[in-house]
Symmetry: C2
Subunit: 186 residues, 2 copies
Amino acid sequence: MPEQDTKKTISFSRQVPEGDGRERDVCLNCGFVNYENPKIVVGSVAFWGDRILMCRRAIDPRRGHWTLPAGYLELQETPEAGAVREAQEEAGARIEIDALLAIYTIPRISQVQLIYRAHLGDDRIAPGPESLEVGLFTFDRIPWDDLAFPSARWALHHFAQSRALHGFPPFTNPPGETGNLEVGGL
Amino acid sequence: MPEQDTKKTISFSRQVPEGDGRERDVCLNCGFVNYENPKIVVGSVAFWGDRILMCRRAIDPRRGHWTLPAGYLELQETPEAGAVREAQEEAGARIEIDALLAIYTIPRISQVQLIYRAHLGDDRIAPGPESLEVGLFTFDRIPWDDLAFPSARWALHHFAQSRALHGFPPFTNPPGETGNLEVGGL
């Protein structure tokens, strides 16, 4: 393909489009409005017996810290399919979705997280390119002092609270918590 | 501000970024990856006694048809706040969120819809710029033959099923339904 076919030139200006109430990037050539909106993160608390699947991050932010398999939902993907894909990509795991465990909002970074409760089909796991290592932890052996994000801690505790529940409303952010990383710990 | 300060020139190429598995728009100048991901629609089934708030659309798609107050979640906004804002903007309504009624996925257009059950603080409503008219309908008087979207129909039926429920898991797409508009009706 000739190089010019793979390039496009766009000139944007910050404007409030007609009928809108907020500034957006508007193309000065064609009027296209580049709406930016929050992104959806999908993930899971996946268990095998009394152990929970976790991944140690190989990428920033929070490289080297532990979290749940989770990532951005892709175009044309259902949230459930996205959570299954992330567990496969990050931990080589085959999971089956059981319930929507939680919906968390991290307004500062405009993320909405849909975290599912899931069970592992077997205990064969292996780190994918974005994980340094993966592990199955009983609740008291979770690396609590080395978690990557507040929402991972929330989800683990909400999972524990949900163990006896069927047909429950999804948990949300703990009262007053925004999901921001705090200096001095989570 | 001089005009050149409000313009930027970007040249994108479709590439698979390192460590990624999908083609993205990558800036040929700086390597910026323009990830495109599904968008979140937030809305509500808001009731006043035995009547439900609906809006007749003043904009495409489906101008002239009836739907629930709903729209795109904005940056730095929680889903609950977005649903409250949309009811205000589209119907001049003051609502209080009661529960997460449903999560629907429309994969074709990469939308995840978070629909809340809410009650109106009073029955003063008025069409906003995106509504031709607004109304409060008992269930049997809903303009069923003139609904804008399949997901509005789903939400109304799920709302009816939820009336006696407290602390329930959110409903999801009816089995086999994708949310696509079908020729010949919803």
